[in-house]
């Protein structure tokens, strides 16, 4: 029972990170119809800058804020300086360019910071608090849930209730019509990239302290899981990304806990394959609107 509770909480905590990272993928997919394969590398870059700032100033929280800001700016930069110039007629073009960005960012990080693992400290204790003799939640888990809860509900509120959210949705669904209605579609696209990259940076800041530490490839496996989550939930569905993230986090935690951690990458791929075979649009794919 102890073990089950531990695995469940651990799975949900990791799942929350997957959810955020998958949400970032979904945001860009919805806005630009690009699967941003560079998201992991971009998020790691933001985390490196954050930990440099934290080391210089001695303040983790200043570094945390810097990570988000660098994430936002990096997203906007990638859109304005790179993706804007990619020919989107074939979906393969942006994918190849994104993969190129991964190589570039990881090479630069390796040159600047070296390619050994650097310790990344967590701002809260990671040892679990006990309730009635059963180890349940660590303060860090609570922090992860709170941070991601705030970001996800903030984004949901923004998209559903604010004028800028309405503009972003309109620009994504119908760019031409939106321009005729005075929406700056290019600006919305950049904003979408910035937000997604900011969310990605947050996810990296939350997950890196739970793993081996900072490394140019630190987010590679998280990216694979998050990509699976996005496909499982449906690339077009933000709620799908969130629910899918939690489900995949749980699944991987149980597989790793009961069947061995060697099997988790395999479990991710099996899940991806199964969903692609059975429901390629994702479990939360909306009913296709009939266009007349």
């Amino acid at each position: 029972m102890d073990r089950f509770v531990f695995l469940t909480v651990d799975g949900l905590s990791r799942g929350a990170v997957y959810a955020a990272f998958a949400l970032a993928l979904v945001l860009i997919w919805r806005a630009a119809r690009v699967v941003n394969f560079a998201q992991g590398a971009m998020a790691v870059a933001a985390a490196y800058v954050a930990y440099t700032v934290a080391a210089q100033t001695g303040s983790y929280w200043l570094g945390f804020v810097v990570a988000i800001v660098v994430g936002l700016l990096l997203g906007a930069l990638v859109d304005r300086a790179v993706m804007r110039f990619v020919d989107h007629t074939s979906p393969l073009n942006p994918v190849i360019v994104a993969l190129g960005l991964v190589l570039l960012i990881q090479a630069v990080l390796g040159m600047v910071y070296g390619s050994e693992f650097r310790p990344a400290e967590a701002p809260f204790s990671r040892s679990a608090l006990s309730v009635g003799g059963v180890a349940v939640l660590s303060p860090y888990d609570l922090f992860v849930f709170a941070a991601i809860g705030v970001v996800v509900s903030g984004l949901a509120w923004m998209f559903a209730r604010t004028p800028v959210g309405l503009r972003m949705r309109a620009a994504a669904f119908a760019p031409e019509v939106s321009r005729l209605l005075g929406v700056n579609v290019g600006g919305m696209l950049t904003l979408g990239w910035a937000l997604a990259s900011g969310v990605g940076a947050l996810a990296a800041m939350l997950v890196i302290p739970t793993e081996l530490g900072l490394h140019p490839h630190a987010m590679d496996l998280v990216f694979v899981s998050a990509f699976t989550v996005a496909v499982v939930g449906g690339l077009d569905s933000p709620p799908g990304a969130v629910v899918g993230g939690l489900v995949v986090g749980l699944l991987l935690s149980y597989v790793s806990g009961y069947a061995g951690s060697d099997l988790t990458p395999l479990a991710v791929l099996v899940l991806l394959l199964a969903v692609l075979l059975v429901r390629p649009g994702g479990l939360f794919a909306p009913v296709a609107a009939r266009r007349v």
Binding site: R169, A170, F173, E176, V177, R179, G182, V292
Partner: protein, 240 residues
């Protein structure tokens, strides 16, 4: 050009790729009037509207809206100059609700209070939309979509309304109602309309001015009543 001409087009050349579709279009629409552009398929009617609203860049020529040259104005700025374009197929965003579609039409406005008033007016004008505020665009009937697209343009309180084939795929009764509404808006609010239509009869019935296009040129521009009565012209270009 007189002071009352809201839209003046001079020598407009535009198209897709090398061969221009529009060849030196000249056109004048006085403020507070309805102009109907009619002509066969492929005459360049839709291209004309797209060139006017900047969706395609003219290769040559001038577009003046109330005396201001629109060359180089980005598409998203035109609505701020008072030009609203309701595209062919009407462009209702089917993933958004009726209310969101309508609000989108007024989001660019700084005068939020008046944007709210304009929204209320549109709901009064199109009563069926008020009953379906929360419905998604793709749940609406063709007639309701028509209302929604038109209403969304009106929320921006345009001076000039560009309408591309409002009768497309709609029942004659709905078309007649739309045309009557355009007339009503012209009389009550001084709205200027440039209407592109295949449905020549109903377009000329409501318009002040008729513009006949063929093969990318304006063949003739005359008071609509004259065109309706000119049997030879009708036979030659309009097919009835």
């Amino acid at each position: 050009m007189s002071a009352t001409d809201l839209l003046v087009v001079r020598g407009l050349v535009a198209g897709y790729g090398a061969a221009p579709v529009l060849q030196a279009i000249d056109l004048t629409v006085p403020a507070g009037t309805i102009a109907a552009v009619v002509g066969a398929n492929g005459a360049g009617k839709t291209t004309l509207l797209r060139a006017l609203s900047g969706m395609i860049r003219p290769a040559a020529g001038q577009v003046l809206l109330a005396g201001e040259d629109l060359r180089g104005t980005p598409v998203e700025q035109l609505v701020r100059r008072g030009m609203a374009h309701v595209p062919e197929g009407r462009g209702v965003i089917s993933e958004l609700t009726v209310d969101e579609n309508l609000r989108l039409g007024g989001l660019w406005r700084r005068d939020r209070a008046d944007a709210g008033r304009a929204l209320d007016e549109v709901y009064q004008l199109f009563e069926p939309l008020a009953r379906r505020r929360r419905h998604l665009g793709h749940q609406l009937s063709g007639g309701e979509r028509q209302m929604l697209a038109l209403g969304r343009a009106l929320v921006g309180r345009p001076r000039l309304l560009l309408l591309d084939e409002p009768s497309l795929g709609l029942a004659p009764r709905v078309v007649a109602r739309t045309m009557a509404l355009l007339r009503q808006l012209r009389d009550q609010t001084g709205l200027t309309v440039l209407l592109v239509e295949q449905n020549v009869r109903s377009a000329l019935a409501v318009a002040d001015q008729g513009v006949v296009m063929a093969l990318g040129r304006v063949v003739t521009a005359a008071p609509a009543a004259e065109l309706r009565d000119d049997v030879e012209l009708r036979h030659a270009y309009l097919g009835f």
